[in-house]
């Protein structure tokens, strides 16, 4: 008898909760899949392909599908990885040894003496940061360059070089104090 009561009670409770759950899932249904957008928004948009995907958005899609990890973006470095881990609620993953240091911001410039005006680099630049026309000297708009270095391999005369962006007074950053005791790993 009492077991019957127990069974009935449990059934009723589970039904109620089932209905409730069903109702909320319908009521609070989220449209679309903004997560790819959110991930994409966190990526540095260098479009360099170093994550092994052909650009930032494809990488974002790969993260969403679970295909890629969150630690594959060298230009974003630790900051991006942490932001992704925050967004997705997953544990931070250590970056590869070689990317562990904060990425240096770089841009490229064209040695205009050597450039032969072949336009190959223009075709490689993902953000249209290279100006030039066939048989004319090319030049890079430094402000637009993301430092992806994709234009370097196609250049037949190796006239594109990397330079680090010099820190300036108003972009300079204070460093984290070195303390004897490390803060708890959060």
């Amino acid at each position: 008898m009492s077991i019957l009561v127990a069974i009935i009670t449990l059934t009723v409770i589970s039904t109620i909760f089932g209905v409730l759950l069903g109702y909320t899932s319908v009521k609070f249904h989220v449209e679309g899949d903004p997560i790819v957008d959110k991930i994409d928004a966190l990526l540095p948009q260098t479009q360099c392909g170093q994550c092994t995907y052909p650009g930032c958005r494809p990488y974002a899609e790969a993260i969403t599908s679970g295909e890629a990890g969150i630690n594959q973006c060298p230009p974003g470095g630790e900051a991006t990885m942490l932001a992704l881990s925050d967004l997705l609620g997953i544990e931070p993953v250590a970056l590869d040894e070689e990317h562990a240091d904060e990425p240096q911001k770089t841009v490229v410039y064209i040695d205009e003496q050597i450039c032969i005006g072949c336009t190959l680099c223009i075709q490689a630049c993902p953000v249209d940061a290279i100006l030039g026309a066939a048989k004319q000297m090319h030049t890079i708009i430094e402000n637009e360059c993301t430092g992806c270095d994709l234009c370097i391999p196609p250049c037949p005369v190796d006239c594109i070089h990397i330079k680090t962006v010099k820190p300036e007074q108003d972009t300079w950053r204070w460093s984290l104090p070195a303390s004897t005791e490390t803060a708890p790993k959060a």
């Binding site: 204070w174 104090p177 004897t180 005791e181 708890p184």
Partner: protein
């Protein structure tokens, strides 16, 4: 010429953890001396055992955790923990009891949680709770305060009891130890005696002294005095003892008014057991207390409430350690919900309000 660079402020400052801890330790001396006078050499021996063990354990743990030893060993925090624990233990507690309590406090409660600044629970109180749960019998070995009817042990006798466990031939355990006033009240109330009857009992009566138990009054009075001095100097936060005492006072007063026969009066509550030591020296441990102003009021009051509850209805005669640990657990929550309003902001925009928005 190249000059040194550093971030501001550039004034050499004098505050340090070391100064803080040693001032607190100094302030404990008068009360401790009173305890030695009333309860015999056992107090001092306990303090010495606990301090030596604490410093050794601290050094060992720092070495294992690869921390610089000198700044941490000289900061005085281990010493303070040791002294607080030693004062809370019975005077004739066997040496190993003190050692176990101290080891537990330093190794487990402090270093396994990350060392100075990171331990969520008051190490001394954790050590105390561990021994009182594991060795309840040994924990009753309190020496009665200097009374004519009882014999005062000398230093060597105390030493041999603590280290050898044997009593000098002429004594029996009953002759040299007795329950504390708090214990007695509890037992006798259980035997259906009224407070008045207990206070005028031929055997137990004398130990109640004039307010909170003979000897205890002095000890508590001195801790109160030096504690007030520390609070005045801003070395400890006055809100925690204020909250604790206020809560205890209000509760005990209400209940005593309600039923004078079965609830002890407020004066007894405040001056018996280790209340003043707890209020000014234990509960004010910054690492484990709440950090906001309002949070500290609540934190102190919470301890007071728990002490009253445990004393009155609980299984242990004095609930300070449990009360402190319970409120340690509540401290982060208290901090979170008592955040002050930042300058130029309204009361409604608080981080936890933000959080709610974010989660929606």
């Amino acid at each position: 010429m190249l000059f040194k660079t550093a971030s501001s402020p550039h004034i050499t400052q004098k505050n340090s953890i070391q100064a803080l801890m040693f001032k607190v330790l100094l302030a404990m001396i008068p009360g401790t001396i009173a305890m030695i006078i009333f309860f015999g050499w056992g107090v001092l021996i306990n303090i010495i055992i606990a301090s030596v063990v604490a410093l050794l354990a601290e050094t060992l743990m720092l070495w294992i955790r690869k921390r610089p030893i000198k700044p941490y060993i000289t900061d005085g925090s281990a010493l303070l923990t040791a002294c607080l624990l030693a004062l809370a233990l019975p005077q004739l507690a066997p040496w190993w009891l003190t050692v176990i309590g101290t080891l537990f406090a330093i190794v487990v409660a402090k270093h396994l949680y990350g060392g100075l600044g990171f331990n969520p629970f008051n190490p001394a109180m954790v050590g105390y709770v561990v021994v009182i749960i594991s060795f309840p019998r040994e924990m009753t070995q309190w020496v009665p305060p200097l009374l004519d009817t009882y014999t005062q042990l000398n230093f060597t006798e105390t030493l041999s009891i603590i280290f050898g466990g044997d009593l000098p031939l002429t004594y029996t355990w009953d002759a040299i130890t007795m329950a504390t006033p708090l214990d007695t009240v509890k037992t006798q109330l259980g035997l259906e005696l009224s407070i008045k009857e207990i206070e005028h009992h031929t055997i137990y009566g004398p130990m109640f002294g004039s307010v909170g138990g003979f000897g205890w009054e002095w000890v508590n009075g001195l801790f109160l005095a030096t504690g007030l001095y520390l609070a005045l100097k801003g070395i400890i936060d006055w809100r925690i003892p204020a909250g604790l005492i206020a809560a205890l006072l209000i509760l005990s007063n209400t209940f005593a008014l309600y039923d004078y026969a079965s609830f002890t009066p407020p004066s007894f509550h405040l001056f018996s057991g280790g209340i003043m030591l707890a209020a000014f020296f234990i509960a004010t441990d910054p690492v484990t207390a709440a950090t906001t102003t309002k949070g500290r009021w609540l934190y102190g009051a919470g301890i007071g409430i728990f002490i009253f509850i445990i004393r009155t209805w609980g299984a242990y005669p004095d609930g300070i350690a449990f009360a402190v640990i319970l409120m340690n657990m509540a401290a982060p929550l208290l901090d979170y919900y008592t955040m002050p309003r930042a300058f130029g902001h309204s009361w409604t925009e608080f981080p936890h309000h933000h959080k709610v928005d974010d989660d929606e």
